[in-house]
Every structure is written in structure tokens, then in C-alpha cells.
Symmetry: C2
Subunit: 196 residues, 2 copies
């Protein structure tokens, strides 16, 4: 009954999910076929179904892995005793690091979650809405105690969450600055603005 693992200590299902993550990121969920995926894994398409239930299950795994990571971190930050702007910075930095280290699954979740079907679709959709509200709440608190400029909090959330998606292009660029430099630049720009 023990799960069969390969050399890297990973279930075959985990191997499939990893390959699917790469493939979905590259082609998009709809455009990636199970035969593509099978080839990437080194197996016939039919064999995949010994380990997974459906194509959508793969998308579910990816989406909720990402959602859980962000929710868990957000909760930690909320329960900390950091100042408002420090909380915002902490969350921003977490998003940046996720995009640096796990960007394929973050992008797939962000771009393709709409291809989930209920009840997963509405579940994910709710989590997304809730997360943004929590983040907006932190920012509004910061505005109240004058740590943050008086701006529209939901707009800040939009900007922050989408700005980090730009890191996808960084991964593909030739002349990369270091990950560390990228993070510091992004935080500086978002928190302190562009103007000298």
C-alpha cells in the first residue's frame, strides 16, 4: 500500500503534476493535450489515468496548492505584530518570491483557474475574493494610522498582485539582474514610487 516513489522521492502522480505545471504554463491549459503531457512524462496517454482521474484534477491540484500557500502566509502576516506598511511589504515580498521560485504554478493558477468547474470553480473564486479583501483591509488600516498614503485600497491590491506577474518576463529575459536585485527593486518602486 505504500506509495511507489521514484529516485527523487516523488510519487508518480507528483511527477505528472509537475510536468503538467510546466506544460500548462507554456501552452495554456486548453491548448495542452494529454498526449503532450504523456510525452513529457515519457509514457502513453492512457497510462496517465492509472495515476490521475482527469485533466481537470491536475488543474485543481495546481490551483489549490497555490491558493493554500498564499492564504497560509497571509494569515501568518495578519497575526503578526508588524506595522501596516511592513505587513504589506511582507506580503509583496512573498508574492515576489513565489514568482521567482514557483512561477510556473503561480501563473497557471492565475491564468487558467477559470477552466475549473464547480464546485472547485466557485471555491477558488471565493478564496480569491477573500484574499484580496484581507489584503485591502491591511492597507486601509495603514491609511487610518497614516502609515500609507490616502489611496483607494482595492486599487493598490490590483496593482500589487498584477505587478508581480511581470516576473514571468524576467524568467525569459536574457540579461537578468539577480533575483535579489529584482526583489529589492520591485519593493522599492512599489513602496516608495518612481519619482526621485
Amino acid at each position: 500500500m505504500a506509495k511507489i516513489k521514484n529516485k527523487h522521492n516523488a510519487t508518480k502522480k507528483e511527477v505528472i503534476v509537475e510536468a503538467a505545471t510546466r506544460l500548462f504554463r507554456e501552452k495554456g491549459f486548453k491548448a495542452a493535450s494529454m498526449r503532450d503531457l504523456a510525452e513529457a512524462v515519457g509514457v502513453e496517454a492512457a497510462s496517465l489515468y492509472n495515476h490521475i482521474q482527469s485533466k481537470e484534477e491536475l488543474l485543481q491540484e495546481i490551483c489549490f496548492k497555490v491558493a493554500n500557500a498564499f492564504n497560509q502566509h497571509c494569515e501568518e502576516v495578519e497575526n503578526s505584530d508588524l506595522g501596516s506598511i511592513q505587513k504589506v511589504e511582507a506580503i509583496l515580498r512573498f508574492h515576489i518570491r513565489m514568482m521567482l521560485e514557483q512561477y510556473e504554478m503561480v501563473i497557471v493558477a492565475d491564468r487558467d483557474w477559470k477552466h475549473l468547474s464547480d464546485p472547485y470553480l466557485s471555491n477558488y473564486h471565493n478564496q480569491r475574493r477573500t484574499y484580496r479583501k484581507r489584503l485591502a483591509g491591511i492597507i486601509e488600516k495603514g491609511i487610518e494610522n497614516a502609515e500609507v498614503k490616502p489611496v483607494d485600497a482595492p486599487t493598490v491590491v490590483l496593482i500589487m498582485l498584477h505587478a508581480v506577474n511581470g516576473i514571468e518576463s524576467w524568467h525569459r529575459s536574457k540579461e537578468k539582474i539577480s533575483a535579489r536585485q529584482l526583489e529589492e527593486n520591485m519593493v522599492l518602486i512599489m513602496i516608495d514610487g518612481l519619482k526621485a
Copy 2:
């Protein structure tokens, strides 16, 4: 030979492209079918081909309409005698307004351009790269004459171009602030930062 126009002074092909833009934005290019599109236009799928050549042609029209708009505006700004930070702000505001007024085609172009095939694919890809380099150039000029903070210019470009994509969520949100307020908030945050 004169093009047949309908009541709104639009070619039937233009009507189809508009419906396709809405449909592609909603479902994604791959997931949207020609039969879906036909239904939206009020016609059978086969009838579409009296006006268009292929599904991909629709995507081409959308992508290059967007690309041309941004390239043209960028050129105007470059040739103006504005200061560096004003140039950046002008381009940022143009992106915001495009996302406010034409967001469906902007999003489709940005999300689905990878489904183009050569030579359109590499053409679009090149235009995209060139545009970002031009924008980075403006920012670097601004850093040289101390109008802009000494930050990594390509990173600024990434942030700016992706941040405006957040406006897609604004369109769907219930309690919207006005478009005018949104624009001013976004510009303020990007140019002056979050910190009070």
C-alpha cells in the same frame, strides 16, 4: 464593391471581430469555438467564413490593432518635448485609458497572442520586445538626469505594464470607484509610491 455596412456603420467583418473580442476575452482564444461566435453574431458557423478567412485571422486583427495603438502613441510621446517622468506618466495614462475603454481587446492580445502562428507570431513578439525597450530607454534617460530614482529600468517596465492589467478586475467589481479616480490613484501609486 462598396463594403456592406449595417446600421452602426460597421462592416459585417467588423461586427464579427467585435463579437470575437468579447468572446475571446471571456473564454480565452482556445476555449472559444466558432460555433459560440456564430451564435453571438446570430448566424450559423459556416456563414462566418463569407467574411473572414480563419479563426486565427480574428486573433491577428485583435492583436495588431492593439499593438499599433500602443506603438503609435509611444512614438508621439518619444518625439514630444516632455520631461522623462512626464513621458512615463503619459504612457502609463495611455495604458490605463486603453484598459478602461478597450480592455477586452487589450486583454485578449496580452493573454492569447501566443496562439498566433508564424509569421504573425514572431512579428508580434518582436514588436512587444521593441516596445518594452523603448519604454525602458525613456526611463533610463530619466535616471540619468535624476528625474527618476536609480532603479532597474526593465523592472519598472515589467511592473508598469502588468500593473495596469489589474483594471480587468475593476471592470468586474461591484463597488467601483470612478474611472477618473482609478486613473489618478494608479498614477499616484506608481509615480509616488505607497508610503506616506
